[in-house]
Each structure stands twice: as C-alpha cells, then as structure tokens.
C-alpha cells in the first residue's frame, strides 16, 4: 500500500501572541496513505489540533506544504479552500457543533446545500447518511432532543454526507461516556473498513487510538513516534473484545 493521500512536508506553524512568537509545529513531515485510519496523539498543547486544522484546510501554515491528493491546499486562496473543504473534507468536532435550530435532517443536509444537488437528491443522500449512523428514526429531532452520542452520530452523518475524500475528527469521543464513545469508534472503524474512508483523528484516549490502524505521536511540534498497526495487533484484539463486552452488557 503505497498511495499517499496526505503529504505534509517541512510544515511550520507559528502563532503570534503579542510580540512573542510561538512555534507549534517546527518542520513536520507526515504522510497518510489513502484508506488509512490514523490516530494523532500527544500531550495537551503539542499541536494536534493545529496539525489537524491545517490538513483540513481551515488554517494556514507559516511555511511548508500540504498536499491532499493532487491538491496543494497550502497554496489555495480562501475561497478556493472553502470550495475544496466542501468537496473533500468531513470534519467531526469534539463538541458535535450541530446547529441547534436545525433538525438532524437539516444539519446533515447543510453541506449538500453547497452542491448543485436538487431537493430530492439531497433528501436521498441525507437519508443514507443517517441510515449509516443508525439514526433514521431521529431525522426530525432537534439536537437538544438527542443524547450526546446521537448528536455525534448526526455530526458524523453530516461529515460523510458529501462522500468526502478525508474524514478528520478532533477528539470525537472527548465529551462522551464510555459506551457512546465506543459506538462512535465502531462507527468510524466501519467507515474506514467498509466505506474505505481515510480518517485522521486526534485523541487523548488510548482506547480510541487503539481503533486506528496507525498511531502518530506529536510532541513539542515534531512527530515523535509512528507505530504501525501490525506491531500492536494484540492490543487491538483485546480492545475490541472489551468493546464487544461493553456493547453487550
């Protein structure tokens, strides 16, 4: 498998805080293969969110390049980036970030409003996305009428409804109880294995990371570790039996 989807090279990201300059990422190199499920780990403040945002095209690097597929997103204009995100990125947030005045259906439909699809086609896509996340019966519910786990599943439906190239998730289970977190992780895993989605998640939770095929450690702005899934097959097996037990009980 040598088909890189994401190519990041010499990536530098500085923040200015007053006159001080804070270097968060200092010459980072990173490759994600097409179809991979990568977990980004690291201590708080290490730059995980920063890296994820850069890959998702909602932030701009200080220097270096980022390719996703053949698109060099680090050189796009703001409006090109917006258009690119709408077609290639599904973003999943820690706090779900659903629009409270819209129903589950309407929330999932949002990204489709940016496409030329007609009403009927949009409905079909939304129904499929909600079906995949198992919420076909909650379409007309408002976010406040849903549990945290359900909200996050709606958010995932919203992320996948346009069939994006890449799914990114910033601590998608950070606000959830263990059981809901497990369900979300199983869902992400399915999206990766069944629907061949390339997924990059940021997480603090080792159990979440264990779902990924590959774990990347970020420390003080550089990539510290890169464990391939093959090296920790046993951990994964143990974890999934645990999850299975969790779901059953």
């Amino acid at each position: 498998m040598d088909n890189p989807l994401i190519r990041v090279g010499n990536l530098v990201k500085n923040y200015h805080r007053g006159s001080e300059e804070l270097t968060v990422l200092s010459g980072l190199n990173f490759i994600v293969e097409d179809g991979e499920f990568v977990a980004l780990m690291g201590p708080s403040g290490s730059g995980k969110t920063t890296l994820l945002n850069l890959i998702a095209g909602i932030d701009r690097p200080t220097s270096g390049y980022i390719f996703v597929g053949t698109d060099e997103i680090s050189s796009m204009t703001d409006s090109q980036l917006a258009d690119w995100r709408s077609r290639h990125i599904g973003f999943i947030f820690q706090t779900y970030n659903l629009i409270p005045v819209l129903t589950a259906f309407e929330n999932v439909e949002l990204p489709l409003l940016l496409t030329p699809l007609g009403r009927v086609e949009r409905r079909k896509h939304v129904e499929i996305a909600l079906y995949i996340v198992g919420l076909s019966d909650r379409m007309s519910h408002y976010p406040r009428q849903l549990s945290g786990g359900q909200e996050q599943r709606v958010a995932i439906a919203r992320a996948i409804v346009t069939d994006p190239t890449l799914l990114v998730a910033d601590e998608p289970t950070g606000d959830l109880d263990a059981k809901s977190a497990e369900e979300i992780l199983i869902l992400l895993e399915r999206l990766n294995s069944e629907f061949k989605k390339t997924i990059v998640i940021v997480t603090h939770d080792p159990r979440a990371a264990a779902r990924a095929r590959r774990i990347v450690h970020l420390e003080k702005g550089v990539l510290k570790e890169d464990i391939k899934a093959e090296d920790r097959g046993s951990v994964r097996l143990a974890d999934s039996t645990l999850a299975f037990a969790d779901v059953k009980s």
Partner: protein
C-alpha cells in the same frame, strides 16, 4: 432559495428578541408613514382633494382702491408653482337702491380662470358653460339667490358708481362654496370693457391658485419682490389668516418632520443593529462550523445580511400593512376636526410607502453589515475555539 429555511430559522432563534425587534421596527415605521403622509397631503396634494387650498391674492400695496396693471396677471401666471390666475375688479354700484339690504359684492372677472382658481366652488344650478358663453351673463352665489328669490334666467340690473355705466346681467349659473358664504355676483369683465373702454388695463386683485403649500409661501414673496420697484408695488397674502399661518408654518413643519424621521430611522437602525450584533456574537462558533463545512466568507456574509433583511422586511411589511389598513379609521376619526380638510387628502401615497420600503431595506442591510463582515472575516480556528 435553498438557504432560506436556514436564514429563517436563525431569524427566529430567539423568539422574544425577534418579536421585540420587529415591533420596534413596526411602530416607528408607522409614525414615519403618518408624518410622511401628512407632509405629502400638504405638499403634493391631489388636486381633487385640495380644492380651495393654497390660494393667494395679490393687490396694490397701498390698498384695495388702487388698481394694478392687468399685465401683472400674465406675469404671475408664468411663475413656477402658479397653477391658475384670475383677475377681480370690484364693481361696486348699486342694486335697486343704496340700502344695506340690497348690498352685495359684485365683481367683474375672467369666467374661465375664475372657476380654476376657485376650484372649491360647485355649480348648483345653471351651468358654467352657459355663463362662459353669455358675455352679459352672471354667476351668483346660492345665498344671494335665496335672499332675493332669483332664478336662472332672471335679469339683474346694476347701476355703476366707480364705473359710470349701467349693466344688465342674466343669471346663468349658481355657485356654492363649501366652507364660506356664497353671497357674491360675478360677471364677465369683457362686458365691462365693451361698454366702458377706460376700464381696460386695470385689475383690482389677482387671485392665484398655487400647486401646494410650499409654492404658496414661495410665490407670495416672489410676486411682491418682482413688483417691488415698479410704479405699482404689490402685497400678496394668503386668502385667509388661518391658511396664512398654516402655510408659513409649513416650512418649519417640514424641517421638523424630516429631522424626526431621520432620528427615528437611526433609532430603528440601532435597535436592529444591536439585535443582529447579539445574534451574530452568539453564533461565532456556529459560523466557524459552517465555514469548516465549506461555506465561503461571501456565503456567510449573504446569510447574515439575508437574516437582517428578513428581520427588517417582516417588520416593514407588517408596519406598512398596518398603516394602509389603519389609515381609513384614522381619517374617519379626524373627519369632524379642524384638520378634516387635510385628513381627507391623506391616503397611502406611493412615495410614502416607497420611503417606508426604502427605510426597511436600508435598516435591513445596514444593521447586518458590521456583524456580517466581522463574522465572515474571523479566522475559522478562532471561531471554533470561541466559547459562549
């Protein structure tokens, strides 16, 4: 417009606040429309509604006894704002005898222009055309007809004193004025010119019907200035003291109404802008989410402007609708008051409705502009980290 449900739901996100904001657009808008209609009624009246209004009269500065050159009438007619001009000559003389009972006002006039200037007069019997066509005909007030028991076709003989001639007139038409006594007799000045060539060239008073109140005020000054240094200086006044005061007040009223309107518009704008600013501030994070999904800055800008526009339009449409509907009962309630004349001239003037609509659109766009620009330009990552 597939974004409409999103915009609409955002407008009604905080229902109480939205309703209050809409209310604070509706009420001031009503006030503006009312004031605007009042001004319009005074200013650009429908001729049918303003019969008898905006009439001024020019005479010799020294007094009524001194005549003016007849050419003045034509000069005045050419001034802007003068709709019609007619000439009056006080005939005087006597009817039967010099007793008070037989005294009434008699004028030699221009029949065709008389009815234009005195457009508030109605012909109650006979016809204006009969009078126009009979050089020795006369137009007589209804009160006089009743007093003397005259009929159409009757002869009236007047023995002149100022003008030494006896004239014999046939009553061809009867007039009635709405709010004044109808007790004068008018006959064609051409008749007098024929029998008394020395009469030619003089006019006692010149009556001018003006386009509107502003024109009346302006013309009164303009006419007197025009003839100030001639051998026959003039004095021009409004027909009635009441109207005089009213007309001269008009300039001030206009200024007052205009400044009030501007203040009110600014107040609406502040209220709507505050609502939009609050609403956008509460949604910093949501807007960042939308942009993460691929909504461009431009789209965010239009969504927020769309919101403020819809908010203002709801208020504007309700306000203008209420104004149109409420106008009838309002007019009815003013019917028996001293301003009934103006009240009847008030209607949903297109220019007032247009002004209301323009204000609405302006408030809609301006109130949303600052929050829209701010929201669409804020970096996405900053918006996503926003708490609140």
């Amino acid at each position: 417009m597939k974004f409409f449900p999103l915009i609409f739901k955002n407008v009604f996100r905080k229902k109480t606040r939205t309703v209050l904001t809409i209310g604070s657009i509706i009420l001031p808008l009503l006030v503006i429309c009312l004031m605007g209609s009042f001004l319009s009624a005074l200013n650009m009246p429908d001729p049918a509604q303003t019969r008898g209004m905006f009439r001024i009269v020019t005479r010799h500065k020294v007094g009524l006894a001194s005549p003016l050159p007849v050419s003045y009438a034509e000069k005045i007619r050419q001034l802007d704002g003068a709709i019609a001009v007619t000439k009056f000559n006080w005939f005087g003389g006597k009817y039967i005898d010099d007793s008070a009972r037989n005294f009434f006002a008699r004028f030699a006039v221009d029949p065709e222009t008389l009815v234009l200037v005195f457009d508030d007069a109605t012909i109650t019997s006979g016809s204006a055309n009969d009078w126009f066509n009979d050089r020795a005909g006369s137009l007589v007030g209804e009160d006089l007809i009743k007093k003397f028991g005259w009929n159409i076709g009757d002869q009236v003989v007047l023995i002149g004193d100022i003008y030494p001639t006896t004239i014999q007139l046939t009553i061809r038409a009867v007039y009635k004025l709405q709010n004044e006594p109808s007790d004068a007799l008018f006959f064609n000045r051409k008749y007098l010119e024929e029998v008394l060539p020395s009469f030619q060239g003089n006019v006692g008073t010149i009556w001018i019907k003006c386009r509107d109140g502003a024109a009346a005020t302006k013309l009164a000054d303009e006419i007197d200035q025009m003839f100030e240094n001639s051998p026959y200086p003039t004095k021009t006044e409004s027909e009635k003291a009441f109207q005089m005061g009213f007309v001269s007040m008009l300039g001030n009223v206009k200024l007052l109404v205009t400044s009030l309107t501007i203040i009110i518009v600014l107040v609406i704008l502040l209220i709507a802008a505050n609502t939009m600013a609050l609403s956008a501030r509460e949604r910093v994070r949501e807007i960042a989410v939308l942009r993460t999904l691929g909504f461009s800055s431009w789209k965010i800008l239009t969504l927020i402007l769309g919101e403020s526009l819809i908010l203002a339009l709801i208020g504007g449409i309700i306000g203008l609708g209420a104004f149109i509907i409420g106008l009838k009962p309002l007019k009815a309630s003013l019917m028996n008051t001293p301003i009934s004349g103006f009240a009847s001239a008030i209607k949903p003037f297109p220019e007032v409705l247009l002004l209301g609509l323009i204000i609405t659109l302006l408030v809609g766009l301006l109130s949303g502009l600052a929050p829209a620009i701010r929201a669409s330009q804020r970096p996405i990552t900053e918006g996503l980290r926003h708490v609140g």
